[in-house]
């Protein structure tokens, strides 16, 4: 089985994000970038599938500017066999990415598409679901465990109140949650090997899909500063404050 794993280049999760002074977005110039942590988990899972023998090829794909290539190199260094870079300078929203990924999925015909449940920059949590719909494939989101049997996959999902296990037919789209695995480090020998692995450059404009934005961002602001709290003497005062001042109870 071939596994297609989608990865996104985002601001490094260890960097403190700053809002641009014109409030159109967050500052990305001269900011350290890295692979989105949920995508790292997806790559790790795909590589483990290959190591376990349930997959025979792992193809990483990313859409974005030239720098996305570095993120693909990381995926290759973690163990992906080859990569596809959909090159575009355009701003990409989830639907656009899903459409681009569909083109690649149609060409590659993978048995499984695996990707992060969301990216830590815009937290959309939409691309996997949209891709499944466009492909007409089953989807299993927020995976914390994946097991294959007889051409299907048992996917354990983290939901409110506990765990749910879905059985999906393959091919399917699976999105990964935080506890699926702990991604490996890219080792130096594998980084060197990754330099020789092929990255297929595809111009987004030539893939024949509409990637124009559907959503407009009006304003990006810092979250409000946390104000100091107050101490209450007893439960009666707490209830009174919640009712009269905060107006959160009736």
């Amino acid at each position: 089985m071939k596994v297609l794993v989608a990865v996104k280049r985002t601001i490094d999760p260890n960097v403190k994000v700053r809002v641009k002074s014109d409030q159109t977005g967050v500052e990305t110039a001269n900011v350290k970038m890295a692979m989105n942590p949920f995508c790292e988990i997806a790559v790790e899972e795909a590589v483990r599938m290959k190591e376990a023998g349930s997959a025979n090829e792992v193809v990483a794909v990313s859409a974005g500017a030239d720098k996305a290539q570095e993120t693909l190199r990381t995926a290759l260094a973690m163990g992906a066999d080859r990569a596809v870079h959909i090159v575009t300078e355009a701003e990409l929203q989830p639907l656009a990415v899903a459409r681009l990924l569909k083109v690649i999925a149609d060409e590659e015909q993978p048995g499984l598409v695996i990707m992060g449940k969301q990216a830590i920059d815009d937290d959309s949590n939409q691309t996997g679901q949209m891709l499944a719909a466009l492909l007409g494939w089953p989807q299993a989101t927020f995976a914390s465990e994946i097991e294959f049997k007889d051409g299907t996959a048992d996917v354990t999902r983290e939901i409110d109140g506990g765990l749910e296990t879905l059985n999906v037919n393959l091919p399917a789209v699976v999105t990964t949650d935080l506890r699926l695995n702990e991604p490996r480090y890219a080792s130096l020998p594998n980084i060197m090997k990754a330099k020789k692995k092929p990255i297929d450059r595809r111009e987004a404009d030539a893939l024949g899909v509409d990637i124009s934005p559907r959503l407009a961002i009006h304003k990006v602001e810092e979250p409000p500063k946390r104000e100091a709290g107050i101490k209450v003497a007893d439960v009666a005062e707490l209830v009174a404050k919640l009712r009269d001042d905060a107006k959160v109870i009736g």
Binding site: D12, N14, M35, E70, T74, A77, A186, L188, I191, M192
Partner: protein
């Protein structure tokens, strides 16, 4: 060595190594280093992770199990470690000490030791040169290795400031094999040995840790009739001083790269804090008295970085690079100290609080104006060997 064109690739600079190194380092945050510092403990987990990922074997040729990369790649790895707030001082010598074995060891020594060093099965990260009575005037060292009738050597003497000896399996040792009085030049009669510490400790070698201002695992070594096999001699007897000098440039360049990494860390911390911290109703960084020193530290770091890149480019082309390696170390150590001081000043009182990591990094950065070569010795080298002024020593 063949003479090749040396060039700096400003666009590449080993970018493929940087993200993976910083991703690994992200798992060892400030809290990890604060605890090690508090306990004066060796960062074993961090060193093991770097070893397992093969980063410390970067410079070992592929045929011996390393990645066969140049010094520029090693510099990029160590720079990223320091820019991430981690400290390569615990293990950077594992990267370069093997160079003496690689260049001057016998085939058998290389076959035996290099693959073990590459895999991390054995650590070679202790280098015994400095003695209590001889600092940079290395040729005056008093530790002796006397050849016995059976071909083995008996070692007597004392070494000091030997870093990581307690966390190393092998020690590269410089000792006098012919008394200075019997040689034509002071630089002759010194020999290099590769000592297996697991056999030596308790059998004529004692290692005593020295508590210092920073958590650097440095020690004193006492040799009392330690017998080491004749096979531990590296290269020819009496030529050790030359062999040691060969390794110095690599060390200078790599440690300069760590200083660049430290500078980046300090400047990033300082500029973030100056932008965020509000006093008198505006960020303190709006005041030029706060902003300009940070900008100046940045300019100094970038200038020093160019010299590190130049030295590395020459080194990797197999060209002489003594002046450049020394200047890289000098300029980078000064740049990181300037950045450290500026970062502390920008943070005011908070800079002294352990949880900000600034005070710890400040202490650590100070080391590199002293070790592995002091700033004055670099200046003496430049003044006398490059500019031809009268010798002071």
């Amino acid at each position: 060595m063949s003479e090749q064109r040396a060039f700096i690739d400003l666009d590449d600079d080993h970018r493929e190594l940087r993200e993976p190194v910083s991703a690994l380092c992200a798992r060892y945050p400030g809290e990890y280093w604060r605890e090690k510092d508090r306990e004066r403990a060796y960062p074993e987990e961090f060193v093991q992770a770097l070893t397992d990922a093969g980063f410390l074997a970067a410079l070992i040729p592929e045929r011996y199990g390393g990645s066969g990369l140049g010094i520029g790649a090693g510099a990029a790895i160590l720079e990223e470690i320091h820019a991430s707030g981690c400290n390569g001082g615990a293990c950077h010598a594992q990267m370069y000490t093997m160079g003496t074995v690689l260049r001057h060891g016998s085939d058998q020594q290389k076959e035996t030791y290099l693959p073990q060093i590459a895999s991390g099965a054995r650590r070679l990260q202790a280098f015994g040169v400095t003695e209590p009575t001889t600092g940079s005037d290395t040729t005056q060292l008093r530790t002796t290795a006397e050849r016995r009738p059976d071909g083995d050597y008996t070692v007597n003497g004392q070494k000091v400031w030997i870093s990581r000896a307690e966390h190393s399996d092998l020690l590269l040792l410089l000792a006098r094999t012919t008394p200075a009085a019997e040689t034509k030049k002071r630089t002759e009669g010194l020999s290099v040995f590769l000592v297996e510490l697991e056999r030596a400790v308790g059998n004529g070698l004692e290692i005593r840790p020295i508590r210092t201002m920073i958590n650097h695992a440095t020690t004193e070594l006492f040799f009392d009739d330690l017998v080491i096999p004749g096979s531990s001699l590296i290269g020819e007897e009496g030529r050790g001083f030359r062999y040691i000098l060969d390794g110095m440039n690599a060390e200078r360049i790599l440690i300069a790269a760590e200083c660049i990494g430290d500078s980046r860390w300090f400047i990033e911390k300082a500029s973030a804090y100056a932008t965020e911290r509000q006093v008198f109703g505006r960020p303190i960084g709006a005041n030029q008295g706060v902003q300009f020193p940070i900008a100046e530290a940045y300019a100094q770091m970038e200038a020093a970085r160019l010299m590190v890149q130049k030295a590395a480019a020459l080194f990797d082309a197999g060209r002489p690079c003594g002046p450049e390696a020394n200047m890289a170390k000098l300029l980078a150590a000064e740049a990181s100290w300037k950045a450290a001081d500026t970062c502390l000043q920008t943070h005011g009182g908070f800079g002294f609080a352990e949880e900000y990591d600034v005070e710890r990094k400040f202490r650590e950065a100070r080391l590199y104006r002293v070790a592995p070569i002091s700033t004055n010795l670099v200046l003496a080298y430049l003044g006398q060997h490059v500019l031809g002024m009268p010798r002071s020593y």
